[in-house]
Amino acid sequence: MNRREIVEALIFSGSGALQVRDILKALPETGEEELEGLVDELNKLYLETGRSFRIERAAAGYLFVTREEFTPYLRALHTPARLTMAALEALAVIAYKGPCSKGTIDSIRGVDSASSLKSLLKHQLIDIKGGKPLTYYTTAKFLEVFGLDSLADLPDLKQFEEVFREESGAGAGGDT
């Protein structure tokens, strides 16, 4: 198998920019300069065969991007809203606690939730209620996204123990 194509597969399957050192780790006996040459070859090949993407160098690594000419068509595709795990945590706290302040959310999560709240607001999964302090609550869109009729449809936390109970309590089951 060609080394050039292995480099392609590595960058292709990586999430985010794949670090040069990670590529070199997966491909011993390849130097950084050689790697650069292989990426150049790939990009030349993509250009020649009219591919809609190329490999770009960014943040000490490589990643695939689509060529600018195609951007108008990609806009037609609704870009899906994305949430980080941190935002999901904040959302879970608000859904289960009901309207609550940033202070409450922060203390339950043990970390600052400012950017998570911002992202949840942007995606209209939560909204703000005035007052001192401000409180956050889940919206109708939240219910829609999670397929719930009302917050009462959320499984109660006791039910959820059937799967997420503490590891130490999982003694009886013979199933790992």
Binding site: F64, R82, E89, V93, L148, L157, F164
Partner: protein, 237 residues
């Protein structure tokens, strides 16, 4: 390369017991080993062998999941049904037939087991090949379900089990720890750092250590350590 394949092969049974997915898996293994099929199944010898194996496993102190024992008592009940004349229906009627119930259970399980083996033979993403990577590790809102919320809660719990202690002991509750140490000193005159922390964990130990430093700074206690890495003791002044 298939870590999940469970093939009941030639190795001695005792060693393989933990490899069975459950009592139904073990029963199917015994049936195959005896060259029975579910159609011509003779229940009694299978029950005998099952009970013998469970007994062996227990005598060898192999830890056995509760389900194996539950099945054992069910099989004992089943056997007694088969031995009682009343359970037999002369004209082949089908009303009470515990043996058939067992067969149906095994048949349903075996079909699922085959289905799972079929899944396992399919080329799987993240095992046999990989999807195109995403720009970031984030979840698509459209793909979210309740499971994601519950997982988020579980992740908060896993993390805060440590963090809460950290916050309580090192930041806010040093004062409490100081009080506790002073109480212990009054009681005993001399305590070890481990006693103060109740030997509960690193975060408590750090909290206790900070409290002791604070006491020493305020000239309320003396710290004694005979040599490097030796146990730290605290005495009153």
């Amino acid at each position: 390369m298939l870590p999940m394949v469970n093939d009941p092969g030639k190795a001695p049974f005792v060693l393989r017991l933990p490899a069975f997915e459950g009592p139904l898996d073990l029963l199917l293994y015994l049936i195959e080993k005896n060259r029975f099929t579910l159609e011509n199944l003779e229940v009694c010898p299978i029950i005998e062998q099952y009970l013998r194996y469970v007994e062996q496993a227990r005598s060898l102190d192999v830890s056995l999941a509760g389900e194996f024992l539950e099945m054992a008592s069910y099989l004992i009940w089943l056997k007694s049904c088969l031995l009682l004349p009343s359970a037999k229906n002369e004209d082949g009627g089908e009303e009470i037939n515990p043996a058939r119930e067992l067969k149906e259970m095994l048949q349903a399980y075996r079909a699922i087991r085959m289905a799972s083996q079929d899944l396992n033979t399919r080329p799987m993403l993240y095992r046999d090949r990989f999807p195109k990577g995403l720009p970031q590790e984030e979840r698509d809102v459209a793909s979210l379900g309740i499971g994601a919320l519950l997982e988020a809660i579980s992740s908060i719990r896993a993390r805060t089990r440590k963090h809460v202690l950290n916050v309580t002991f090192t930041r806010f509750n040093i004062a409490l720890m100081i009080e506790k140490i002073q109480g212990l000193l009054k009681l005993k005159g001399r305590v070890s750092l481990l006693e103060v922390a109740d030997a509960r964990g690193r975060t408590e130990l750090i909290g206790a250590f900070l409290a002791v430093l604070e006491l020493s700074k305020r000239s309320l206690a003396r710290i004694i350590q005979s040599r490097l890495f030796a146990m730290i003791y605290i005495t009153g002044r």
